[in-house]
Symmetry: C2
Subunit: 666 residues, 2 copies
């Protein structure tokens, strides 16, 4: 179970308080609320939209620009054939169980998990133990909490252990196993006690039709990845045929969740950022820049530990993790480290991040290995970035379905001498002899394996003829005499090597990361617990500066307008608040929005053109000329100078916010 | 008809050439091409994706940040009730005509337009006149070209004039009129000559279902606007109840076009940026910053000119246009001017932009006035930004459908004394007297107009009773005696004013603008017509700098890596090209991508740490230390110094690109 959430100041995290803030200041809200909200659809209001835009720009800089990735923007609408080929039409589904009486539908894994967790909590209560906080991670195979009643009933020790073991590997069960667990442990509709049907699969894609009248079936993409795979040849060409390379895409994807809950954590429409790094499967999937990140330490929770029913964390450098084989290869390891670095840059609490390896049944149908970057929230550990090794799965299936080569052809440093068995057919005699079957028999001969060729060459010299299976002709096989065919071992020079690249895919769920980031950044000041502060890094903060005239009076306007124009010119997003509220109140309203800096224009400003600059987290203020303050803000927002350094070089004002104001009251 | 397209150097524009470039360098391509492309769906490759990201950031800076707009991110999935209320379920449709024999479906307006244009061209040919280039604007009500045969047949002068008059107002016809035109002018299936059915409406929204099993109907939004309107109350609250204000949104929208063509100009999935500016309908819709833009000159094509069958352009300042009533109000005028300024910033050719007013039937169902910003392309004039006055339409319909107030309540500067007729009902007697009808009669009395109240007060005093219509009761009306009701004129003080804001909506089609921008930026150098140059402004260019070592040799690597790292630190997107191609070839490959600057590292660099800096449009090169060159690039990309100024202060190298290389050949 996840540890309880605390704020950065060590207080217990209060989710109701932050939810009230999100609502009051329109970070986000249910979509179409005045009509009737649809579950799992949220509109982002101004603060979160700005945070999201800053996130996207940072992500693009950190990954696309610095790693020279090829960013593409493929369409959301995806025809049936594409997603049938990728396996999503058949396999992108959740196991659901229905109560035939009430018509209710439950995610089977969520239901089993919730019922067993509640029984365990009931047991603890009955034993007089303090109930641990619920671990409600909304990730992996998309779990979700159900409200089920908790009754204080003591369990046998053996039952208790069994429940714990089931819960530790809940993500590893398929539909039949879940059905069996429901039978074995008498899991019913938690609201009515009604019987439930065995789990069936429900596809999670939204379906539509393209074109007028009866158009062709299409889906809203469940991931951006397919659009990247389908453009592989164009991207390889764009990259001058150089390997390895990565493509990337930022865009909306859609999942028709059965029962979306947990606010922004399980939604039906979400912004993703996905990287598809194409790498040679041979040579151990090395990464040229791995040495630059090898020292980065990560908290790792590997597959075996989970299968053992444990959740021990292993903290070690990614260099060691790859060396010890915990993380499979350098390329996967490189991205885990880069994800960790990125999370630190955007302000994720470094004590609330871990990397968890998927268990075999938990992985998506296309993955051979997967590590999730999980962030701790008040809902538990949440999957926020999935780092999957998709091997050659996608390129291979699309290549087969379209009869198109999706591979790399590399000139060998020196040609290889290949010795192989070759079948030569005497075409002149072949036609007259086999008539309409000639073509089929020829094809059958061409597709013989090297082993068979060797064997048949012996038959040919010993018996003077060979027999080959040809399932497509009436006879089912054919006898070919030695005057019609020759099988010989020959040498040839191979100048190029062909291979289908493997794909390492870091896939970011942006809404989840932003939600976790907001929880990690939220705290309250001692003595002012009713109002929160969101300590976002300046890079991510929706507005960088709040400009406040002491009062809404003409005398302050020229200086305020001058500051605003100058901030516009240097592209620093800011707001002017000329409302009648006190300066202290205006600042505290902006602490809630994460605005890192505030400028106050007061009577002294009119006389000597100095203003005060206030920082959100320390609430300390300095006073200097407008020029100096604008310069300081530029340095602070560019990350070139710290607030501590500013405090050392510009004069601090001792007066508290409210008293400063009072002293200036007219 | 639109003028023929020329490049900025005055050459005839060659669309085939630019299309080949788009394909060769993967600006964009048909989505799912290896499976089977779906019409109207395109994937953006790396250059166009980067251009799009730069566009979005610039747009956000120019509109959202500088105008302090409230950017929101509403969902794409929109439930039935929302779009039923907005009128899109009933009215967001095109008129189509079907050939019952072949099953083909045509957009009726496109068909009529194309057939008549071809007859006119045939006539010109028959008369021996040179055929003018086709005007194939893909805008207004979504016109599209059909390939119909052009036969040289002379027309009567009267017929010719009639055709021209029809074409000038083709966007103004509804379905019945188009059907009549098809009958009157014998318009058939252009491929087969088959008869066509009368036009019927086809809804352009993609439909899907939300939720498991039989979910509820939803659509992919056809515009971002509805999500902004539905959040009106939250946004007004966020803006501290201050009016006017604007919301904005950037995101994908979808239209199930009947026959998407013209590349990026008529697609089924597209990125939009929409502004909803909420303004008080009283007081002439003034704009506080209008005086700042009043001098901006625009090319205007107003409604009356088009109805007269003409296309004369009126060039005047937006200040004069509003004063003369050509553009209805300051707010609409302000945005037209801002659109013009933005287009100039991103590099739109100022000779290829105009503003055209919609005709009455051409406007969307929600608009009371609309001006399109049109850009000239090789497909003709294309609507790229629609600036509509949606009046109070959307807020009113959603308010009614949800029984939610969507209005502004403003405290009046001084209370208003209102004199009005008031109906008082004696409730104690009313119930016993009218029994079950009492409530309905009371409601009927409450909803009487002021005029009726005045008249009935006279009846009451003269006849001692009044008769009121009550359609909801069996009797249909009721007689009320004077002891049960009193009607008096009374005074009261009104302290607040309530109104539903009007909405001015500039709506940007980003794909169309980018396509037009690429056409406007494309030209070829004299003597090198096979290879194009895309002269994008640095702000928009996908990559800012190409770094080229003279040869792919170790000796150059430290300097190249140093330059690359330093460009990363100052966030300047760049690529290193160490391929074996000649410097000239590498530059010319990047001229095609719009890369404005190139750095060459050569043998001299190794000795004195100087490098050359080359500018795309002039192909001139300067040489200076790495420090100086990096500084220059920073100034150039920030728009703080021009290339002309750099040329004056850093030493020019005279040698041509190819000869520079030849002289250094080892």
């Amino acid at each position: 179970m996840a540890p309880p959430m605390t704020t950065k100041t060590g207080e217990a995290f209060n989710r109701e308080q932050i939810e009230s803030l999100f609502k009051r200041r329109f970070f986000f809200g249910p979509a179409f609320e005045i009509h009737e909200p649809v579950k799992g659809l949220f509109d982002y209001g101004p603060p979160l939209t700005a945070i999201q835009a800053n996130f996207v720009n940072l992500w693009r800089k950190f990954f696309v620009n610095q790693e020279k990735m090829l960013e593409v923007d493929p369409t959301i609408l995806s025809p049936y054939k594409v997603l049938k080929t990728s396996g999503h039409v058949d396999k992108f589904a959740d196991w659901c169980t229905k109560d035939p009486k009430s018509g209710e539908i439950f995610r089977a894994d969520h239901l089993v998990e919730q019922v067993l967790e509640n029984r365990l909590r009931g047991d603890e209560e009955a034993r007089g133990e303090t109930a641990a906080p619920v671990e409600a991670d909304a990730d992996g195979k998309r779990k979700k909490k159900l409200k089920t009643k908790q009754v204080a009933i003591k369990l046998d020790d053996a039952v208790r252990d069994e429940y714990k073991s089931i819960l530790a590997q809940i993500d590893n069960y398929g539909g039949p196993e879940l059905g069996q667990l429901m039978v074995d442990h008498k899991i019913k509709n938690p609201d009515t006690g009604g019987d439930l049907e065995p789990p069936v699969e429900f596809n999670l894609m939204f379906q539509t039709q393209i074109g007028p009248v009866a158009g062709s079936i299409a889906y809203l993409r469940p991931e951006t990845a397919q659009g990247q795979f389908l453009n592989f040849n164009k991207l390889l060409e764009y990259n001058n045929q150089q390997m390895p390379f990565a493509s990337a895409s930022i865009g909306k994807s859609f999942r028709n969740e059965i029962s979306p809950r947990s606010g922004l954590l399980r939604v039906r429409e979400f912004l993703m950022a996905e990287i598809e790094h194409f790498v040679d499967p041979e040579g151990g999937k090395k990464h040229a820049k791995f040495s630059k990140v090898a020292h980065i330490e990560l908290e790792l929770l590997n597959r075996q530990v989970q299968l053992d029913g444990r959740t021990d964390i292993d903290r070690k450098s990614i260099g060691d993790a790859v060396k010890e084989g915990i993380v499979d290869n350098e390329t996967l390891g490189y991205f885990l480290a880069r994800v960790q670095m990125f999370m630190e840059t955007i302000g994720i609490d470094q004590k609330k991040i871990r990397f968890r390896q998927h268990m075999a049944n938990e992985m998506a149908h296309y993955a051979t290995d997967c590590w999730d970057c999980e962030l701790l929230t008040s809902y538990g550990w949440i999957e926020c970035v999935g780092c999957a090794d998709r091997s050659a799965y996608d390129l291979t299936v699309h290549s087969k379905a379209t009869n198109t080569e999706l591979c790399v052809k590399e000139k060998l440093p020196k040609p290889l001498e290949i010795e192989e068995w070759v079948v030569d057919v005497d075409k002149k005699k072949f036609g007259p002899k086999f008539k309409k079957d000639a073509k089929a028999i020829e094809t059958a001969l061409d597709s013989l394996s090297q082993e068979l060729r060797e064997k048949l060459s012996l038959d040919l010299s010993s018996a003077g003829k060979i027999k080959v299976d040809v399932p497509s002709i009436a006879a089912g096989s054919a006898e070919v005499e030695k005057d019609l065919v020759k099988i010989e071992k020959r040498k040839r020079m191979q100048h190029t090597r062909e291979y289908v690249p493997n794909v390492i895919e870091p896939s970011f769920g942006i809404g989840r990361i932003l939600y976790a980031l907001l929880e990690h950044s939220y705290w309250t000041r001692e003595g002012d617990e009713a109002r929160g502060v969101i300590s976002l890094p300046t890079l991510i903060a929706p507005t960088k500066v709040l400009v406040c005239p002491l009062f809404n009076m003409d005398v302050f306007r020229p200086i305020v307008n001058d500051i605003s124009d100058r901030l516009d010119i240097i592209d620093i997003s800011h707001l002017v608040d000329s409302s009648g509220a006190s300066i202290g109140k205006r600042y505290s309203r902006n602490d809630e929005l994460g605005t890192p800096f505030g400028i106050t224009v007061d009577y002294q400003s009119v006389q000597d053109n100095t203003v005060t600059l206030r920082e959100r987290d320390t609430t300390k203020q300095v006073r200097a000329s407008v020029d100096e303050i604008i310069d300081a803000i530029k340095l602070l927002t560019d990350g070139k100078e710290s607030w501590e350094s500013i405090l050392r070089r510009l004069p601090l004002i001792e007066s508290k916010e409210e008293s400063q104001e009072a002293s200036q009251e007219v």
